[in-house]
């Protein structure tokens, strides 16, 4: 059995990578295939008769090519080659204007025909260099759709053909034609568009690299059970046949088959199925899927950190390949703009043909097309977004969904979860009032299966625990489990109130709540067995951060916790609007009613609200479910990141607007000049120079976001 990793290029989306995986898996003697879209690699485990050559052949048959790394540096080498060729071309073409030394045999004045031929021949390589752009433009034209490539192709081809016809006329003896050659324009247009695309790819891969590093640095762990004890270990140390335990709200670290427990699982990101699937003994579970309400123990069957990384890979890939609404607008504009420009140029053409001559008409037609080329538009937004996302990731903010960056300036309300978001969630048990001694033991045993901060706090109470069967989580209310023959419940006052039981602790409850403590009750169907008071601490810098945010946004606290406790904490952080004792569904409703809203939270209970919010933010240490439902994830324990987020997004939008302005500005003021109606006229050469300037301006402006 052999294993090899190949570098593959051509995978642009998850459909492609899945396609490759499936195709190779179908082949004989293939044992396993794992594709990594971000690293652009495929790891293949195979048997003897196959060789590495065969594997490379499979990759080719699937429509991809190996040796990707070579392609990237080759692209830059090619660009610089053509850049120098282009500069040389320009020198020969315009050298005489600046009285520069030009070899006599291709001198414009002495040997015009040679000069023209030289320019023509030197431009042809550029057409091959820009082959992909031209092909895309022509293809779109044939199918009657138009994008930026169409405009560029149109400009380049018309320009080239016109120059060619002038070359022919020159050959026939018309010396004046030598002034109407614009071959270098075609060359430069293609050169600069290629540059734009190279920069785009370069930025994307740099940002992805830094994200990849960040993501692999935050270790992902799994919980295994060995001899009745729980061990939390790094995912790549989980072996096949290990018993893995997954609690509510957690992500399955590896694939396997359930041994014990019952729960519903969300496999949406893997199968697209949004309805939760029931998993019980003998059910198959997949790495990356989300566990919902129950506790499951299963036997690991397929391991390897790649299965978790592919989960995160998908998140990262989505952040980049999803087109933002700004980008969609650019596409929309291109669809109007292109026919509009062609119409304008045609009008100028007809006008000049009627009142002047063919040459002026063609020159203005070509110039208009070239000068209107909105290549910088295609750069404007993506460049700014990519630089920002990379910058934010360095600061510890992971932007899963780039549309969120555009939505941030629209936010009016910020809704904050309490426990774990405003408070550290590091809760300690301070008082207990019990009816039976075992009450605290039972409570801790139940809470052992919980991922709620209260549960985590009680787990710290190192007590011998008893076995709990049929554990169930009731989001927003509490938990239940069977100890011995009795079902016990643990939860908030709200939970208790749904059972008609007599509560002997009402006075103690009132006292604790007034002090801002959190209350947990332990009870059975028959009686209340205990009251437990827990204390939480505020996060570092929270008051300062929220005070700053209050100036521009309306802040609300929304929590499933008790109202009195919530109000006490709220007053400590100067929040006046409080919604307490809300269920996850109610949190979601509140978020919708307060739109445009930013929701920040951490727990399973926040997931629906995070998803429904205009922008959903998951804090560090939050549950996997909340991270999955959010647009933005904080990778550091630092609440001031919320301020940073708003600040950076404001800057980004400003720069995107500036970019769009510059992209259009040059083009728009140039169009009247290109029309030939004004005393100052342009030629395609200067037009393409102007276009270059707009692209360079956009690029430099976007780099300002690097800080």
């Amino acid at each position: 059995m052999n294993k090899t990793t190949l570098q593959v290029s051509g995978m642009t989306c998850s459909a492609c990578s899945l396609g490759l995986e499936k195709y190779i898996k179908k082949q004989k003697h293939i044992i396993d295939v794992e594709v990594n879209l971000i690293l652009q690699t495929v790891a293949i485990t195979y048997e003897r008769p196959l060789t590495k050559k065969d594997l490379m052949r499979f990759v080719k048959e699937a429509g991809f090519s190996c040796d990707a790394k070579k392609n990237k540096s080759l692209s830059w080498k090619a660009f610089f080659f053509f850049l120098f060729l282009g500069l040389f071309l320009m020198y020969i073409s315009m050298g005489h204007m600046f009285h520069l030394l030009v070899p006599d045999f291709i001198n414009k004045e002495t040997h015009p025909l040679n000069y023209a031929l030289f320019l023509f021949i030197a431009t042809i390589p550029f057409l091959f260099y820009g082959k992909d752009i031209l092909q895309s433009g022509i293809k779109n034209l044939l199918h009657k759709t138009s994008n930026m490539d169409t405009l560029i192709t149109f400009g380049v081809i018309v320009n080239f053909l016109y120059s060619l016809s002038e070359l022919v006329s020159l050959y026939k003896g018309n010396i004046a034609s030598v002034n109407n050659l614009y071959f270098e324009s075609s060359a430069f247009i293609l050169l600069f568009v290629k540059l734009g695309r190279l920069i785009d790819t370069e930025n994307k891969s740099k940002a992805v690299d830094s994200l990849q590093n960040l993501v692999t640095m935050t270790p992902k762990e799994g919980r295994i059970i060995k001899e009745e004890k729980e061990y939390v270990i790094p995912i790549n140390e989980i072996n096949v046949h290990d018993h893995v335990m997954v609690k509510p709200g957690e992500v399955f670290p590896v694939d396997g088959i359930v041994i014990d427990g019952k729960s519903h699982v969300n496999e949406a990101f893997l199968t697209g199925e949004s309805l939760p699937v029931l998993k019980e003994k003998k059910s198959e579970v997949l790495a990356g899927s989300m566990n919902l309400e129950g506790v499951l123990t299963y036997e690991a069957l397929k391991v390897g950190k790649d299965s978790m990384i592919s989960h995160i890979t998908k998140l990262v890939m989505n952040a980049f390949t999803k087109k933002t609404s700004l980008e969609k607008n650019v596409d929309k504009i291109s669809r109007f703009f292109v026919p509009f420009i062609i119409t304008m140029a045609s009008i100028f053409f007809v006008f000049h043909l009627a009142f002047h001559d063919l040459e002026t008409a063609i020159a203005s037609f070509v110039t208009t097309l070239v000068v209107a080329c909105p290549c910088a538009l295609g750069l404007a937004t993506p460049l700014a977004l990519v630089v920002t996302i990379g910058n934010l990731s360095k600061k510890g903010i992971f932007v899963k969904n780039s549309e969120a960056l555009e939505n941030l300036p629209k936010i009016k309300n910020i809704l904050l979860d309490k426990t774990g978001t405003i408070t550290t969630g590091e809760i300690s048990l301070v008082h207990s009032h019990v009816k039976k001694d075992e009450a605290l033991t039972y409570l801790c045993s139940l809470e052992k299966n919980s991922t709620h901060p209260i549960g985590v706090a009680l787990q710290k109470e190192s007590r011998p625990v008893v076995t709990v069967k049929n554990f169930k989580n009731h989001p927003g209310f509490g938990i239940e489990g069977k100890i011995g023959n009795t079902v016990y419940y643990a939860g908030s006052t709200k939970f208790l109130k749904t059972f008609a039981l007599k509560n002997p602790y009402t006075k103690e409850e009132k006292d604790y709540l007034a002090k801002g403590y959190m209350i947990v009750y332990l009870f059975s169907k028959k009686e209340v067995l205990g009251l437990f008071a827990l204390r939480d601490t505020l996060k570092k810098d929270i008051v300062k951060t929220l005070d700053n945010l209050q100036k521009d946004y309306q802040l609300c606290m929304i929590t499933g916790d008790n109202e009195v406790t919530a109000k006490v904490i709220a007053s400590e952080v100067h929040i006046s609007k409080v919604f307490a004792e809300v269920t996850p569904e109610e949190k979601e409703e509140l978020v919708i009613n307060h739109a445009p809203a930013l929701m920040i939270g951490d727990g399973i209970n926040d997931a629906p609200a995070l998803k429904a919010a205009t922008v959903g933010v998951s804090v560090f240490g939050g549950s996997d479910v909340s991270a999955d439902s959010s647009d933005i994830v904080f990778l550091k324990e630092d609440i001031t990141l919320l301020q940073t987020l708003f600040h950076v997004s404001k800057k980004t939008i400003k720069i995107i607007k500036e970019n769009l302005f510059w992209a259009f500005f040059y083009n728009l003021i140039m169009i009247p000049l290109a029309s030939g109606f004004l005393p100052i006229t342009l030629n395609p050469m200067i037009a393409s120079l102007a276009m270059t300037f707009s692209s360079i301006t956009v690029a430099l402006n976007s780099l300002r976001l690097r800080k």
Partner: protein, 71 residues
């Protein structure tokens, strides 16, 4: 001879490219174009027998060949 196929499940230009690259590998396939927006694949084949091979390859790659497109 030229055949126009109605092919579904191409989602992006990347899919188009890999389909084109893959079909080009088949001996006897002279020209291939693909467009995911109109769900179309056009192939220029040396003889009719190759069509079956082409369709099988497209399906091997996980796309769906609905049928031939009439002019």
């Amino acid at each position: 001879m030229q055949v126009k196929l109605h092919v579904q499940k191409m989602v992006c230009e990347g899919c188009e490219n890999r389909l084109i690259n893959a079909l080009k590998e088949i001996k006897g396939v002279e020209k291939v174009t693909a467009n995911y927006q109109i769900e179309e694949v056009v192939v220029q084949l040396k003889n009719k027998e190759l069509l079956e091979k082409v369709i099988k390859k497209i399906e091997d790659l996980d796309f769906l060949v609905v049928g031939e497109k009439d002019e």
